[in-house]
Subunit: 350 residues, 2 copies
Amino acid sequence: MEKDITIYDIARELDLSPTTISRALNDHPAVNQKTKQRISEAAAQMGYRSNLFASNLRKQRTNTIGLIVPRLDSPFHSSAIAGMEKIANEEGYNLIISQSLETVQKEIANAKTMFDSRVDGLLVSLSFETENLDHFERFISKGIPVIFYDRVAEHKDCTSIVIDNLQAAYKATSHLIEQGCSNIVHITGNLKRNVYADRLKGYKYALIDHNLPFTECNVLTGQMTEEAGRQAAEQILAMDPLPDGIFVSNDTCAVSCLKTLKQAGISIPRDMAIIGFNNDLTSRVVEPNLTTINYPGQEMGEVALKVLLMQINGSTEGIPSNTINLRSDLIIRESSLRGKVLAKKKPLLL
Amino acid sequence: MEKDITIYDIARELDLSPTTISRALNDHPAVNQKTKQRISEAAAQMGYRSNLFASNLRKQRTNTIGLIVPRLDSPFHSSAIAGMEKIANEEGYNLIISQSLETVQKEIANAKTMFDSRVDGLLVSLSFETENLDHFERFISKGIPVIFYDRVAEHKDCTSIVIDNLQAAYKATSHLIEQGCSNIVHITGNLKRNVYADRLKGYKYALIDHNLPFTECNVLTGQMTEEAGRQAAEQILAMDPLPDGIFVSNDTCAVSCLKTLKQAGISIPRDMAIIGFNNDLTSRVVEPNLTTINYPGQEMGEVALKVLLMQINGSTEGIPSNTINLRSDLIIRESSLRGKVLAKKKPLLL
DNA sequence: TAAAAGTATGCAATCGGTTTCAGTTGTTAA
DNA sequence: TTAACAACTGAAACCGATTGCATACTTTTA
């Protein structure tokens, strides 16, 4: 438990003032090159480390970025966080992370903690329950930039980073239709969240554009968990007539739904074609492999952090618009390929 | 960009001293109950928030815990982190997270950042490359507790939190032997890391105890990634004779190995039985479902944080020992069940 | 050669809570 | 009635780095 070395200790040692020490360590131009050299050597030798709290207190900034996610243990968020950490680390920022566990109360509490920790900026992916953005107002009114990613909401002072969910869902649904599906069910999450609302729209528009009817009862909303996938499958099995296509808003749910349907004797994709969303590892593991939308988690995290840093450092010019769209694409695999898979399978069966 | 309210503002407003304000807000006993009431009302009304930096500077502690993990985007670490965040949040601590990406340099750099951020304690799961613990010495010599979890190393002043990898591997291997396997391959990671070294031991001892030969060439070490699983499968396919059992040190790798073997026409578990490690979601999705070791990620995170807090708060009595072992168990599924699966399958084929 | 400009350094105030020590008031015991 | 004590409250130092302003010394310019 040795005592910490401060700039005062170094000052005493070298018979200089703390001012000069501070300047030298920050590479201030008004300090003689040789003096700087002497100081940094002494600092290293004495084992000096800067006290960030004193520094932050004085400078009124913290080099810390706050992050609020619904769940830490989700493949998408893990990779987004990995991307954020990468950039933050490169730029000398710390990340403080907390999870809302899909509840508003925790999201509000976390926002408060972040505020009290005086983060320089905040990244948020909203919980299922969140209805309004009041708990972020205090950041905005203090000029602390807030960026939403993935699960976003409209706010005139905040940038959002998303993929084009509507278009992705439109593509997915159209693909099902092209594969011969005409009675397509959509399984999705809480429609308060843009991601699910937009995917529903994309699904709906694709149906309409292909002259297929849209009915409310073909839309099942739930928690998008493994369990929800099972339940959705039960609901589907109870439908009459049975649908011939399913578009699910995430892979976890799609995979468990697919498994349940298979167990019930449904042949995928012959009886029903399925498409998921996210391109999680499981989509490549399940049999048949799941057609899905590739979702750039890591990239989204990196972009979110980069844009946030630009805003923190006041260079607003570089930001193209209030919403940043990232590319996503449909990855076609067996679970939706009716023609081809049948062609492939037949020779095997003979 | 409104100005922040400080205790001085409140003091002026209520005609009291900053001292009393500070005490009242910290619920110090030497402040009159009514005064406290008045102060906390005024504070709330004026929108006061404490400046953590001033407070930390004075109190010389930060209520912040550092975490260094190899990768953020791994199912195990995500759930461990989720557990840590839960406890940290409950106890009013912040978590600063960084990833080493399996390299020593980054691990050292991250440790330095954590040190400069003056974390009150540090949680670490070591990178593949780490050979020594020198970069953690400065924490220890300053009395900052360091706890290793999962990927641990021996250090007389640090607690480690692990599962009994040797025993788990022993169980897994014994199970394969009981299912009739006699030529078992083990796929594992860098043997510098306890988790892999211990699993190798468990595998070896199980063989020996069942009078089966242990040979180096049946042990394949690699990066334990999806890609590594494919490569391992190729190696296995080139073996002569082919093994009849495979014990893999993680599920990601086991699943991709299993898929590759299946594609090559190997029947699982009839030709080869496979066991993984971790109980990731994919182990329940792959066909046949993967027998695996259930790994308590969330719980390990919670325990790690709780023990760390105990050490930070100086109550060393509660800590049973230098190493804390958590329970893990073998989850038997189809990929290793030779007798039963065959029995099930036959009627289907007839 | 004096004035102006440039270079290098230091003084002292500041950021906003926390804490030590001392002081005031009121109460109780002797 | 006075000493002893409890219950509050406050003044001022402190944590350690940063920074506006002043100062001392050099060098250049007129």
